[in-house]
Chain length 223, copies 2
Amino acid sequence: MSTAPPPSSTADQLPLRERKKLRTRQTLIDTALERFTTDGFDGTTLDRLCAAVEVSKRTFFRYFSSKEDVAMAPTQDLWTAFLDDLEIREPDHQTLLAMLQDTLLAALERMPDEGWAHRVLLSHRLTATTPSMDAHGLQFCDRTSRQAMTLLGRRFELADPQGLSSRLALDLLVAAFHRALERWAAEPGTPPARDDLAVHVRDAFAAIPGSLTLRVEPRSERR
Amino acid sequence: MSTAPPPSSTADQLPLRERKKLRTRQTLIDTALERFTTDGFDGTTLDRLCAAVEVSKRTFFRYFSSKEDVAMAPTQDLWTAFLDDLEIREPDHQTLLAMLQDTLLAALERMPDEGWAHRVLLSHRLTATTPSMDAHGLQFCDRTSRQAMTLLGRRFELADPQGLSSRLALDLLVAAFHRALERWAAEPGTPPARDDLAVHVRDAFAAIPGSLTLRVEPRSERR
DNA sequence: CCACATAGTGCCACTGAGTGGCATTAGCTT
DNA sequence: AAGCTAATGCCACTCAGTGGCACTATGTGG
């Protein structure tokens, strides 16, 4: 599934083998994002990508489950951190939705700032251009929220017999994150900062209540 | 894009050519759903599917954009009807979200009952089993809600400067529909009825407000 | 009734993603 | 240093999807 744990910040004293693996993985990710961005996703064949990294195609598929997968690694790392955090978190009398927001923001803070934001930005732009990447990204989020749902059910008392409301809360979390990412990526500022993304996440969550009460009027221009 | 209009109920006096095309399309859909269900998605090669329908592979791709696409046709028809309906609908002083719900239910009512529900059920089961179908399905919904968003912006005054809340309302619509589909498909009742699905849609929408206010408690079992 | 234009189709060859199997290498162990 | 095992490379294979061109059938004008 290629969901290798994100390179833990202070893990430089791993066995040589593991360090090498992490390095190969990271090189594949970086090179892939680079090539995909310059030559396009379809314009980059796996053969050439592998040749550039000097790795056999067979090996590529031992690290990533698909061509799309390699480009989604940065986002995957975030959600993996999210799930880890959710596993530990204590419910401090807040709303479920607020707790989810806090967990996401906490996970975000744990991402390595240098490089990560840039990778996510490239990755997101690719998903906006490449249908198959978009599809895989959405499916990954769906899978993650499913996992989160079982995790919630296991750890907490939800007072929600059918589980419908809590499941929708997770859907809202994913939706808010997507909107935040969208706005963040559209910002003119050249160096994309991780903390700016956090701001957009807060904005998106703040807009949720409005989405239930918003009313619509026909356009004022009558003809 | 293979988004052919759903076979309009009273369209039997089309030119011969068109009738033939519609028939081929429908045969492909039905046979595909059948084969995918019995032999599995991956277990069914396009070559064999095409052989069964007596159509060349080249022709298959003139009707559908991918192997996944053919199996998602039933759901696509629903969302196409949804967009059509949204184009006409007058905002009668309700909430945006309520309007979206009504539009979806109206579109649902316009689906041909015989066969359609069954096809959707098969299709949904396949998405639950086959990752690539799941991915394509999610992407289709995403694309549809994007279209709906531009449509809303064109037709209505949204009183939502950033458009964030209205976009989230669309996300909620999609989420609610997915949950409804999920529950509906899980129901024991053998003959899946279109109207049952409508009931689940109403349930899911009813659960939305709760998803904002739901609180979480730690599991009562202390050790 | 007979061309004629043209949409739709079949056929064939080709690219590229992804997989299975087995030999080989490189890191770890004692 | 010898041996064990995980990781890798290599090769051949399947199958989704595309491009190109020839062919057929439908609808149209003489």
